[in-house]
């Protein structure tokens, strides 16, 4: 669609504009590169150090994705439980809310003490940090499912499991995908957090050692990499989302008619 294309171009232009503004403001206000380096600096560093950074990127991507996958699985399971059972709602919600209000920085050292440093605590942190948003959205989606839709299956004598599979979960997909966007960014944060505390590899470790050397542009290069990875995964989920929840966003199809 021509319309689609021009919107994409406009978006890309505005995003470039954002970085240009950053660059120009830094130059004009004379912001020290020790506080906030200019994008051009960061990109230069990125290109320069890329060969060294590459294995760390892979490591972080790996721990994040594994943790995220586990987190999604657990999140969906708990979310379904909470959405379906009143008791689970009363028990699991307060515990989860309490646990989520705790900064994960405080939890990572415990993981390290139990599992040693490195990949395992990073995966665990990425996992625990992303469970809650998924649980909340799945549970809300299930709780707000229109009874009329469930009645269609109930009248056929469907079991609760069948109703869940055929009505509850499909209906909850828009909620689920919304939570995935939040969860994936949190997973990155979690994995990196754990790496800064205890790991010899990963972007978190790079950023920590860079920041302890005041190599600020390398720190920001790390941040850029994280941002880019986050956006890349977001794009993947968006495409999936468009396929799966197209029925719920049909409004947009007609905005251009």
């Amino acid at each position: 669609m021509d319309d689609e294309l021009s919107i994409n171009i406009a978006s890309a232009a505005l995003i470039c504009g954002f970085f240009a503004l950053w660059e120009v403001l830094c130059l004009l206000l004379g912001v020290s590169d020790l506080i906030l380096p200019r994008p051009s600096d960061i990109v230069a560093t990125l290109i320069d150090r890329f060969p060294v950074l590459w294995p760390h990127i892979l490591q972080t991507l790996y721990t994040t994705l594994v943790g995220f996958a586990l987190g999604v699985g657990i999140g969906v399971a708990i979310g379904v439980l909470i959405g379906v059972s009143r008791i689970a709602y009363g028990v699991a919600y307060p515990l989860l809310v309490g646990f989520s209000s705790i900064p994960k920085v405080a939890v990572v050292p415990i993981f390290v003490l139990w599992f040693g440093s490195g990949t395992t605590p990073a995966i665990l942190t990425a996992m625990v940090i992303c469970v809650f948003p998924i649980v909340v959205n799945i549970a809300t989606g299930l709780a707000t499912t229109e009874p009329e839709l469930e009645d269609v299956l109930k009248s056929l004598g469907a079991s609760r499991r069948q109703i869940l599979w055929n009505v509850g979960l499909p209906r909850t997909m828009p909620y689920f995908f919304a939570s995935l966007k939040v969860a994936i960014t949190l997973s990155f944060v979690g994995a990196v957090l754990s790496e800064t505390v205890a790991s010899n590899r990963g972007i978190g470790n790079v950023m920590m050692s860079a920041s302890s050397n005041f190599d600020v542009s390398l720190v920001f290069a790390g941040l850029m990499i994280l941002a880019a990875l986050g956006v890349a995964l977001y794009v993947v989920f968006s495409m999936l989302e468009r396929r799966v929840t197209g029925w719920a966003t049909r409004k947009n199809d007609f905005a251009v008619t």
């Binding site: 020790l34 060294v52 050292p109 003490l113 040693g116 440093s117 470790n205 050692s209 302890s212």
Partner: protein, 322 residues
């Protein structure tokens, strides 16, 4: 390779030049020669080394003796034991920009100092103030993360900072400052607080169950330490082999700094590398107990065990910078 004993070892912080003894011993296979399969991980602070070992995740590590004292006081028989003292002089210092006009410790009054909570420098401030007749109530202390101290000092948000000189010196360099010309350094050792600091410590369990492993560790580290003092090129190579992200120039300088400013105490000539003076240790235990408000002052023997040290003639450190 099957009969190697696995040892989990934690550094005090991210890879730094001053870790060279351990990394060289690793890369040159000195541990292996002692029958040890050592895995080295980066750390979260030289005090956390103690917790990591007490928690059982690590068998040995490079960390702060003062943290051992602290834990030994509360949990006798659990805290790790120092078996090879590396930094015989304390890196603890207060650094102030010359532009603040602070020339003597008395000038601290009416100023704001920044400190990272829980670092020995910050914690010892009370004792420091008492010993040097400073009215503590007139000095404002602001808590902040270690890597914020220098930037905030440069921006004038604080007048000085409680630091480790080996860290802060290079932080200032990285911030394009001249640490020698533009800053005044109040080193704790010059103000009646000649504390010990980092060294290699091992867990109680390993000490009790595998003394031969401890002996091997100490031998290997001692050998590497002496070598590092002679050949920094090899040391830097070992560092890069462990972590290719480090800034080679800075870490080399940091290594030299540790050799010339921290490891060369006058007593080294008589005691040799790795050993320490029990009297001085007892004195410093007193300081720590006072500074941290400990319930009891542990015995020196609870903190340090010299029984694994090689003979004195094998521990003669001669520093040659190349």
């Amino acid at each position: 390779a099957q009969d190697l004993t696995p040892v989990r070892f934690t550094l005090g912080w991210k890879t730094q030049g001053s870790d060279a003894p351990f990394l060289l011993a690793l890369s040159k296979g000195y541990f292996r020669e002692e029958g040890l399969d050592v895995t080295i991980d980066q750390g979260e602070g030289s005090a956390a080394t103690v917790t990591r070992i007490m928690g059982g995740a690590y068998d040995a590590g490079f960390g702060d003796i003062n943290a051992i004292i602290q834990n030994a006081a509360a949990r006798p028989g659990e805290a790790p034991v120092m078996v090879y003292q590396l930094w015989n002089r304390p890196p603890f210092a207060i650094v102030v920009p010359k532009s603040t006009g602070i020339e003597t410790v008395a000038d601290f009054e009416g100023r704001t100092l920044g400190g990272a909570q829980g670092t020995p420098t910050t914690r010892m401030w009370e004792v420091f103030a008492k010993r040097n007749g400073i009215d503590m109530s007139k000095v404002a202390i602001e808590n902040m993360a270690p890597n914020l101290q220098e930037p905030m000092m440069i921006r004038g948000q604080i007048d000085g900072a409680f630091v480790f000189n080996i860290t802060s010196w290079f932080n200032l360099l990285a911030n394009r400052q001249d640490p020698a010309a533009d800053y005044n350094w109040f080193s704790f050792e010059d103000y009646g607080m000649d504390l010990y600091s980092n060294g290699m410590m091992v867990s109680r369990a390993m000490l009790a169950e595998k003394p031969e492993v401890v002996a091997g560790l100490v031998r290997a580290v001692n050998r590497a330490t002496l070598e590092v003092a002679q050949d920094q090129d090899a040391a830097v190579e070992a560092i890069v082999a462990f972590d290719n992200l480090v800034n080679v120039d800075i870490e080399r300088q940091r290594l030299v700094f540790s050799l010339t400013n921290l490891m060369n105490a006058p007593e080294g000539a008589t005691l040799g590398m790795g050993d320490l003076d029990d009297e001085r240790l007892t004195r410093s235990i007193g300081i720590v107990a006072e500074g941290y408000g400990l319930e009891r002052a542990p015995e020196a023997s609870e903190i340090f065990d010299r029984s694994f040290l090689p003979p004195l003639e094998d521990r003669k450190l001669t520093v040659a910078i190349n």
